[in-house]
């Protein structure tokens, strides 16, 4: 019999991928420690060494959208529990806890905004909500963001941060890959541009669907972008992983991303792209 191997799609851990023992405001690279307010000020970039801390969806939107321009859409949409899934705890309980812990209804926030005056649709993921995993609700909200962009005739900008598909929704989670890809195809057929920003981490089913289909793909420095996570690769193949395994720097070298853009430059770079695409058909 074929030796059963650990499959690779999903690494939906609730824990963030950085060293769990450290305080989340301690820079894992240089050990500098910051208060929340300081990190908010610096866009969650270590002012000492440039390390990019994970950025929450709301903070990301504030950092990109012109003040007061963001109008959220589909805020009421929530996950269901179609499989009555129960592992060590019921899925419903995990969802409620995530909502309480993050203040978000799901792992993605969508809405219209302007960036330096350029109208666009934003779709921003939040790793803090169940590891940014994609179930039916995330897929649906991303698809609605595409549809809203089409209605407005404006580009879509997504910021992904995800451990992959959400296991607790079983095969329906896998089906969000083609679902979001349909939405991008419709977006493209309507002549709207799609800029995909990959934040740390963008893995599994999100990398294997919409996040890889941007007309332009930019990544944040040091972001992990791999289909299979390093742990799974290590366990399955017993290969020694390169130091920069799956990082955006390696992906730039291997031709998979257009550019690495440090967070402080992201807004102006997006504005530049929006201006360029405003000329499109």
């Amino acid at each position: 019999m074929v030796e059963p191997r650990i499959d690779v799609q999903v690494e939906t851990n609730d824990a963030p991928p950085t060293d769990a023992k450290k305080h989340p405001n301690t820079c894992p690279k240089c050990q500098s420690h910051y208060r929340d307010a300081e990190l908010d000020e610096s866009l969650w970039v270590c002012s000492h060494c440039g390390h990019h801390f994970p950025m929450r969806a709301r903070a990301r939107i504030v950092s990109l959208a012109d003040a007061g321009s963001f109008a959220e859409e589909a805020a009421d949409l929530r996950s269901d529990d179609p499989l009555d899934f129960f592992d060590l705890r019921p899925y419903g309980e995990r969802l409620a806890e995530a909502e309480l812990g993050t203040g978000l209804g799901e792992a993605i926030v969508i809405g219209r905004a302007t960036v330096e005056g350029n109208v666009c649709e934003l779709a921003v993921m939040d790793f803090a909500f169940m590891g940014g995993s994609m179930g039916s609700a995330v897929g649906e909200k991303f698809a609605r963001a595409c549809e809203s962009a089409v209605e407005q005739g404006v580009p879509l900008v997504s910021v992904s941060a995800s451990g992959g598909a959400r296991m607790q929704e079983g095969i329906l989670a896998l089906m969000q890959l083609p679902k979001t890809i349909v939405a991008v195809a419709d977006l493209h057929d309507a002549g709207c541009a799609y800029v995909s920003v990959l934040a740390h981490p963008t893995t599994g089913g999100v990398l294997a669907s919409f996040a890889s289909l941007g007309d332009v793909i930019v990544a944040e420095p040091g972001a992990l972008m791999s289909f299979a996570g390093p742990r799974v690769v290590q366990q399955t193949t017993r290969e020694k992983l390169p130091d920069d395994f799956g990082l955006s720097e390696a992906n730039l070298r291997y031709g998979h991303v257009d550019a690495i853009v440090p967070r402080p430059e992201l807004k102006s770079q997006l504005a530049r792209l929006l201006r360029l695409f405003a000329n499109g058909k």
């Binding site: 499959d7 999903v10 039916s136 929704e169 095969i171 989670a173 990398l207 294997a208 669907s209 890889s212």
Partner: protein, 310 residues
Amino acid sequence: MASEAELRLRDRLSKLKSIGLLGGTRVSGELERLQKQLDRITAEPSEDEIWRSVELARHQDRPYTLDYVERLLDDWVELHGDRGRADDAAIVAGLGKLDGRTVVLVGHQKGRDVKERTKRNFGMAYPEGYRKAMRVMKLADRFGFPVVTLVDTPGAYPGVAAEQHGQGGAIAASQATMLRLGVPIVCVVIGEGGSGGAIAIAVGDRVLMQENAIYSVISPEGCAAILWRDASEARKAAAAFKPDAAHCLELGVIDGIVPEPDGGAHTDLDEAARLLGSSLREALDDLDGLPVDELSRRRRARFRSIGIFA
């Protein structure tokens, strides 16, 4: 006594009948097919039954893609290579005739013996495999050949080189390519439909599963390792995420179930091939003559509508 599964299926059936709710994605023959399959399902599969599917789907004697090719297609010509980096033997692609009609066939291929398993990487493709699939499917598109895909993989290969070669992007691109093909596509999960590695070649107008195939977002072992922190809880995990054909049909993920010989496809390869061939024929006949834009509209609507949320 009607099981819960039967009730849900009946519910789905009545919706289809009344308002075409899952609309646009169904064509003639759909109702009868659902009705027939409904008659076969008399109870929600138990944990044991689900696990039996997992075992049969992975059975070492289960027919693989090339076993079906040899029994169903005439004038088979295998096409190799992604025209860029390599020929990935974990995916086979080629041209052949099904009842005199030229089709392009793409399928994962596991190996039967140790040597072939190594060569075929246990059916786990690199990005090169998906790029070969895309290339050959685009050829089908140019010439109007229907596409048949046979899905049978534990998953896309999780290796360092595979990542460096762009596994995630290749899986996304392959799905996007299939969405845009202007020819009918029929996909059948014939063994393991393992996550991203499976969906990469499973975006079709008709998605079918063999009776004992499984289709899942993660392997039972992988799921158990992450959620139960114990890979040996695989059986429990499988029961929880329900990768069997009956459940996939119930969830609207597949359009029909391809029957297998009693005891599983491996007990009678010829009969398994005959049953698969008959399902393929039926599906292709159904799709025959649909205008390209209608085909495309329905295919998109089919996948756009999958998912359950509040």
